[in-house]
Symmetry: C2
Subunit: 281 residues, 2 copies
């Protein structure tokens, strides 16, 4: 079966090495489980410079992104899928589902997770290149933020800015809700005074959504715009409000006397992005 | 202190009655807890003809709706809020938070819940009165359905139709996500063959969203339209597809080679409702 003894020995050694590596890696220490599960909290993400990407679909999406992976943990059964995406590396660890469960924040058990390096913050530009830029003024719900990242991805808005009060984009629930878009769009924290300066430099108009705003459907919209979306409960903050050039709103079509009070902020973002973008046709 | 003995006795009797009623009511039997918590499942909702409205905000919303309430359960502390909304009735039961927790499907503990009668199914009309009607072809996620109900409420689309495969609108998670809109819009199950007939009777065009559809922004849209939204994973079913008059799509603006694959179905519904409705201006 083997051409010579040397070849036989080499193969045996490789086999043993792989085997021992697998055995070694599949025993994750308690302290490592603790360290990784702590990445659910922003404090520890920033301390370690790492964040978690959970869920098999999300992990596989990483193959297409610029996000740097520190380590992949996968069940043996899922290894081929990881390898097919070119994600299998030296730092891939085989784990059991039970071990994954201890690290993961997900309810539904999965086969893999990736430990990734937090990307370096993007420099804030002096002038805006894009036709439409979004500023998030204190979005609090991770599901909403994730959905907004996905919407921005669809509408070709790669650069998003946000206030310090906005939920952290590397929160596991944001990553999940973004359905992979977290890897393609960038959220950069930026004080609104700076945005005001950039707007002036760029000749951009700052739009904000307010109940009493003008009907967005019938407004002329600038070809260089910054759209501010406010907090779920309180809307746009007083601080940002004074910088808004034009107040806009999505008309309520309900004929019922008991109208829907509001649209969800991610739904409103989608409608407004659509309204700004469609005008390019 | 008391004008006369009769007044004193009347007050005492009332006090005792209230007290005994409260004591009696606050001991919910195990079988009742079991009966009510079973309403999380469609099978039992249909058997009992009842559904649950959970969460204090949702319960208070009922005061503005046509939904008939069978029973309200509230903590003593929350009773004044219930009463202020005119919701306090003979069938109001004082319960402890622990008892509520046993019945409720919610993670976050609340102060109240309402047991409501399932509304009688609406007759399916022969001709459509509204300019825009939505047909949901197998929406599976309760959060998506709830969000879609809220969107329809905002855009003045009170009557929505759906396939038998669509998630039940009285699912507790749908109720939650609709943020009270469940009480203002009606979802009626209806086979698509019937919708095709109604469309013909009404001179309505049936639109469906497909990847290869025409850019919705540059399409002429009929002033009498039925918009079909498909299942989260599989889109519009083969059965419904053959009845669609015009395929439409929301253009993907992403310049990235690794584009966002899709928009969430509730986000897509919002964008399309906005696009149909804005043309009335």
């Amino acid at each position: 079966m083997h051409k010579n003894k040397e070849e036989f020995l080499t193969e045996t050694v490789t086999l043993l090495q792989n085997n021992s590596r697998r055995c070694f890696f599949s025993m994750i220490s308690k302290s490592k489980i603790k360290q990784l599960s702590s990445l659910a909290l922003k404090k520890y993400r920033n301390k370690e410079g790492l964040f978690l990407v959970e869920g098999d679909k999300m992990v596989l999406e990483l193959a297409k992104s610029k996000i740097r992976i520190a380590e992949i943990m996968t069940t043996e059964a899922f290894e081929p899928s990881i390898r097919d995406q070119g994600l299998f590396a030296e730092n891939t660890t085989t784990v059991t589902r039970d071990e994954l469960k201890k690290i993961s924040q997900l309810k539904t058990p999965q086969n893999s997770l990736a430990v990734c390096y937090l990307p370096v913050s993007r420099d804030i530009p002096e002038v805006l290149e894009e036709d439409l830029t979004i500023y998030l003024d204190g979005i609090q719900d991770p599901g909403n933020l994730g959905t907004i990242l996905r919407i921005c991805d669809w509408f070709g808005i790669p650069n998003i800015f946000c206030s310090a009060e906005t939920v952290d984009p590397f929160n596991p629930k944001v990553i999940q809700a973004s359905m992979g878009s977290f890897a393609r769009v960038t959220l950069t924290e930026c004080d609104f005074d700076q945005i005001r300066t950039i707007a002036t430099n760029s000749g951009a108009i700052i739009y904000g959504t307010f109940m009493e705003g003008e009907n967005v459907y019938t407004q002329d919209l600038s070809s260089k715009s910054i759209l501010v979306m406010g907090n779920e409960g309180n809307g746009i903050s007083e601080k940002v409000k004074k910088h808004v050039d034009q107040k806009i709103s999505i008309p309520n079509f309900s004929s019922d006397t008991q109208k829907a009070e509001s649209l969800n902020v991610s739904v409103a973002t989608a409608i407004l992005c659509s309204e700004f973008k469609r005008r390019s046709f």
